[in-house]
């Protein structure tokens, strides 16, 4: 039998028969270890993602075993590949269809900045149409880099305040992208 790892409990007050901590930390712990990614793969970064999901690198180790191919149930939108300007409204629609809380990871140079496709038909980074939480550099990034990016998402999820999604700052951020 292999050794089974269990995440550490968040800091709190412990005593006989009780354990007290803040709700944010408990929810963050639960969410960050069962994120459902929605892979939005349009090109070669998507191939690296397939390797990341495979048994060798195994994204399932981080609680992301279950991919969601419906945006309705997804927690993390993983955008992997070149997004043409014609594709931009589709990507935005997928993002809008995701329920809060939602996170976005731009994987690779193209999703992050347009990459080598500095041209009239390619979106110069998906952050022109949707807010991005984590950027993963590389052309394409190695699976290790994608895993690292995913762990950075987990850090954000773990430490996010329960009220962030209702804050004025967050509404203003979405407002910049024309999302209500």
């Amino acid at each position: 039998m292999s050794e089974i790892n269990i995440v550490d409990a968040p800091p709190g007050i412990e005593g006989s028969g009780f354990f007290a901590t803040s709700l944010d930390k408990v929810i963050g712990l639960a969410r960050s270890n069962s994120l459902w990614p929605l892979p939005f793969a349009t090109s070669c970064c998507g191939i690296e993602f397939m390797a990341t999901m495979g048994s060798h690198y195994d994204l399932g180790r981080f609680g992301a075993e279950r991919l969601s191919f419906s945006p309705r149930q997804a927690d993390v939108l993983m955008v992997m590949g070149t997004i043409a300007k014609k594709m931009a409204p589709v990507l935005k629609q997928v993002y809008i269809q995701m329920a809060e809380p939602r996170w976005v990871m731009a994987v690779g140079a193209c999703a992050s900045s347009g990459g080598i496709f500095d041209t009239y038909s390619v979106l110069q980074g998906i952050d022109e149409v949707i807010p991005v939480d984590v950027y993963v550099p590389g052309c394409p990034p190695r699976p290790e880099a994608i895993l690292d990016g995913f762990q950075r998402i987990q850090d954000l999820v773990k430490n996010e305040s329960g009220r962030r999604r209702n804050s004025d700052y967050y509404k203003e951020l979405l407002g910049q992208y024309g999302i209500k």
Binding site: K85, K86, T119, S121, Q124
Partner: protein, 166 residues
């Protein structure tokens, strides 16, 4: 050179029928190439298809020559499959009023080729049943293959010239 004599035969038949309207005939790499005008282009295409058996329209595209007076060349590639012959036809039209009759009356397959040429060069194919953009997004606003546009996206702010030595 069997092919050359065959090409010469085609050239003679075209010149007999259209006279002065067929000009600048050349044969680079064995591909018969000539220039015609937009008032007879459909007649030339029909003649090549029906009388000279050029049954297949390989491609329609365009070239922008900003330095020329009639700066847009519409280019047609035709293929005679039975005799393994190809021709290339160019029509020069003005940049200010880039219109030309549609070839969809001769080949249905010209539909998407003309939409693509419209999409990238802004050439209006008169009589085309559905002249919309086909590849680029609808609100692009420019015809990107015209040479007055820069190669790189000018909206991009993170690529500063100084970082790229230019």
């Amino acid at each position: 050179m069997e092919e050359t004599t065959l090409n010469n035969g085609i050239q003679a038949k075209l010149s007999d029928k259209f006279g002065e309207k067929i000009s600048a005939v050349s044969e680079p790499y064995g591909l018969l190439t000539f220039v015609t005008t937009k008032d007879v282009i459909i007649n030339v295409l029909s003649f090549l298809k029906n009388d000279l058996n050029f049954n297949f329209l390989t491609d329609i595209t365009a070239v922008h020559y900003p330095e020329k007076e009639h700066g847009i060349a519409v280019v047609y590639h035709l293929h005679n499959m039975a005799e393994r012959l190809r021709v290339r036809i160019k029509v020069f039209i003005s940049e200010q009023n880039p219109t030309i009759p549609t070839a969809t009356v001769v080949w249905k397959g010209a539909n998407w080729m003309e939409r693509e040429t419209y999409d990238f060069f802004g050439i209006k194919f008169e009589g085309h049943p559905d002249l919309r953009r086909i590849l680029n997004m609808d609100d692009l606003g420019v015809y990107p293959m015209l040479k007055q546009y820069p190669l790189e996206d000018p909206n991009r702010v993170d690529k500063k010239d100084e970082f790229f030595g230019r």
